[in-house]
Symmetry: none
């Protein structure tokens, strides 16, 4: 299950990439503002700078745009992540750094991430798996990192806990976007990162009671 191919009437592959890039950019902004369902294809065409007819030269349906948007956002996040996390042997410091990098990326792309978090479910049963797959791959990045750290003996977790911790990290990142109405009032990104990292890794129990 590799990336799902979205067919186009246009042959020139370069042009397809370029036009789709413009479409996606425009669409994200509109989805951000009004959501997928309340955004019309006409609006997307207009904001992309070409006609509705042209829009349909590069996609088959409105849903294709949503798919491309989701796909593009995942690629964006992963790319930024890869740029900054060297995949070396695991250590607690590596994990901490990876979390910080990831939270930073989410913060930079918060609108995009929020759009995706809120709109994936509008994908058809056919397209959804492709996107969930990407989400899983992202989880696996952290899973791998944690697993290595466990193997280095720096963390004490069984296999299931490794998976779950990876999930938690991912979700804590998304949480920064979908609960921002509350979290932003309380914490800066730095504070949030620091505290979540602490809670994730150190837990909360008062030592005297352990």
């Amino acid at each position: 299950m590799a990336r799902k191919e979205v067919p186009s009437l246009v042959k020139d592959e370069k042009l397809i990439q370029k036009r789709r890039g413009e479409m996606v950019k425009a669409a994200v902004n509109l989805f951000k503002e009004n959501g997928f369902h309340r955004t019309t294809t006409r609006e997307i065409a207009k904001a992309s700078g070409f006609s509705i007819g042209t829009l349909y030269e590069y996609i088959r349906s409105k849903e294709d745009i949503l798919y491309l948007v989701c796909d593009s956002i995942y690629e964006g996040v992963r790319e930024k992540l890869n740029e900054q996390i060297g995949m070396t042997e695991g250590s607690i410091d590596h994990v901490k750094k990876a979390i910080a990098v990831y939270f930073n990326v989410v913060d930079e792309m918060q609108d995009e991430v929020l759009v995706m978090y809120q709109e994936v479910k509008s994908l058809s049963r056919e397209a959804l798996p492709y996107v969930l797959k990407k989400e899983l791959e992202m989880t696996e990045i952290f899973e791998e990192l944690i697993k290595q750290t466990v193997e280095q003996g720096e963390l004490d977790l069984c296999e299931e806990e490794v998976k779950l911790l990876a999930h938690n990290i991912l979700v804590h990142g998304q949480m920064w976007t979908f609960r921002r109405w509350s979290l932003r009032k309380e914490y800066s990104l730095e504070e949030y990162t620091k505290m979540q990292t602490h809670l994730l890794l150190n837990g909360v129990k008062n030592k005297s009671f352990t």
Copy 2:
């Protein structure tokens, strides 16, 4: 900002409660299947067992239904929570029990909870605050419980960490619904609860490295 009142053309308050209950029930099932936007008012009317005209005797707009759905789900969750968590002095065991109860409730109402978290964003700017308020109130239940546990000296957390931990608990409950496509394959609810509780409270660091 108490509960937002949804006006009705019908005068009999009892009847309003009854009919709206039926509407909400039908709507949840439909939203679950197709989402808010893809569900038509006629479908809701039909599934509720009355005519479209009658539907509009009890609400003003389709969005009212969504609001009522969200409201009803929050009340459902909170009610079940209150039934089972006595608000006594805080202790780690209390917190653990509260988490377990909450996760159980979320699991029982997973369809409803999922619908709500996926569709709140479709509420108008006017109605949204009322629902977010409810979410905050739920967070505060846990916040209070944790704060008391800290005061009892059983947990070692600053005020901001208390808040954040409460958020995390809430989100981990939701996570059980919105990431169920992945989590269900790996864990049963019991396992999930046990492991999340452990990670939340004990952290992950290998003691020898602390």
Copy 3:
């Protein structure tokens, strides 16, 4: 073609008159504001002070209300007219006085007259003739008066001109309502009456050119 009977489910004739009076009064106010089509039967019932069910005890359809309204307005105008114009032998002074009285009545009932002028056409083909009949009867009042004045030798008009002059008087009265957006800026009722009377009776030609 006497007055059209509007059937009612209620037997008590007194009550019918009373209730219908309330209905008509409420309806006129609403029609004045929003027109016949934009006014709902519910609004009329509410403004009349009884339930929608009760409304339909006294009329068969929404159009019945419009008919009653038109009928009532004509009766109102005619009654006031009869009160003040003794039907004696004709004379120019009588005609002048009658015009003044009529314009006064129209001014007092301007909202009602305007409503009628604007909404009669919404009556069904069945009801319309009854109302036009009333209009004609009003015209005939003036026609008769003018005819007598001609017979007295005070006016020099053929039979067709008599009819037309009567029409003109009627219309100049209605005109005070349906062109009030313009006329009111220019003239007071007294000025309007004086000038119209002058134009109607004396014409405009410069004598030196006659």
Copy 4:
């Protein structure tokens, strides 16, 4: 307050004019028959020969059609008027001819004129002033003509009377449409024109009594 612009989704201005012309023509016929409120947008679309979707490419709302209808009728009347009345110096003969021309135009367009006077009131508070403005402009055509005739010394009227006479001429033209149920039985257009002109200009007083 120039002509109110009605926006269209279509860009080709020529096409807009053409299509709107077709729409207006169809709409007038339907309004004539059933009135504005009883005519559906679907009927208008069908009678215009295009789909409901296409209709809404050229207007924003049903009310826009009514506005276009009114606007178009005014333009029609004015155009025909301008074709036939050379705006030269005023004289009684000019005024008489203008009245005859105007009554003729009204007669030719009687359905349109009737529709307009019966339906303007359905225009929104926003659009109404634009249409009343046009009515005023028409009045001013006659006002100007009469004023010049007064200046030529052929008529003996003060300024207010000039205005009012212009109003009267306009209204007598309309009267030929909205009272045709009665007038047509009595007079041909020629008779009506001749008699109204006579009454308007010469008055009715028996000279021996003046």
